[in-house]
Symmetry: C2
Subunit: 189 residues, 2 copies
Amino acid sequence: MTADKPLRADARRNRDVLIAKAREVFDSGGFFDLRFDDFARLAGVGTGTLYRHFPTREALAEAVYHGEVAALCARARQLQATLPAAEALATFLRGMVDHIDAHEGLARTLATLWADRSGALAEGSRALEHAVTDLVAAAVRDGGVRDDVDAGAVMMALHGIGAAHDRPNWRAEADDLITLVLDGLRRPQ
Amino acid sequence: MTADKPLRADARRNRDVLIAKAREVFDSGGFFDLRFDDFARLAGVGTGTLYRHFPTREALAEAVYHGEVAALCARARQLQATLPAAEALATFLRGMVDHIDAHEGLARTLATLWADRSGALAEGSRALEHAVTDLVAAAVRDGGVRDDVDAGAVMMALHGIGAAHDRPNWRAEADDLITLVLDGLRRPQ
DNA sequence: GAAAATATGGAGATCATCTCCATTTGTCAA
DNA sequence: TTGACAAATGGAGATGATCTCCATATTTTC
């Protein structure tokens, strides 16, 4: 989807180092505590280079999690292909909670990408939403799920889960919210 | 609850002007776009005075919406006193969506206060959560609502709704999420 | 291998946030 | 009233993060 402009060799190399270093920081949970300029130092490049490749912190976060989000989407497609639709949806949503739980940084990232008011809705965010919409639509077609609610409602719930990641009782509450959503989605009767 | 230290006359006056001006900005939706220092200029006080009264933007936001949140909590109590518990809960949640819809700024504020990682959970946020917890507990006691989910899940849903306020189809999605939560909460059988 | 195109880096401009304290204003006891 | 003490003020400037600019370096192309 992104117009593939052939990137010069050194440019690609720097970009990759930046993403790799950012991922390390990300996984250690300190992504949002670090000065943005410091990512340049860490990667051994100038700040100008950092800013050329990633105009904002969010752009860098998105690049870091581009693969992650792609994997989530692939998983959604795979579940959809191998399970009854309603079950695929349930498994995917439960898996999202697991995933967010396991990856400290992802929760904040999703919340940030999502809340990003910068107009240009991040690619990853859109892809994820697309996957969820598909899962819901399939479940509706299949008859297990009511057809009178917008898939966006499910995204909102996921957003709430991601954004509230620092609540003391997060895991239990997140699981419960998914339960509520899934039970609420079940076709009445 | 807050230790009432008698505030000097000029201090109180300045504080009130600050809140009043902030509310104007708030209602016009630009609260988070304005430089914090500018609130001082708007109110005709020095930045030092601004910072003494409100150490952070969030503190000011909370002061602005202190009354608002108090009103929401009062409404919760009133509903609880006059309606069957399950209905009170439903009415309150629907009302929250109405309220957020009507007040541009409130959505962002709630999301911000809520996401506030500053440790000291804002008073307003805690009060609101308390009200919701009460409503859910009453509905559980009443038998209309299942007892195996945490009220925090409902807060998460509200958080998602508030934080996603800029989605194109926000209103419909928010209503749908409330529907899901309420239907999901209904005691099976 | 030379010219053109592309990318670099890091000094310093810019900008919001926040602090500090010499001065002003309010309070209260005498 | 008034004097003395406490409380509050304001705004200049410190701080520190973000971002720009462009002379130089590297890569690609022909």
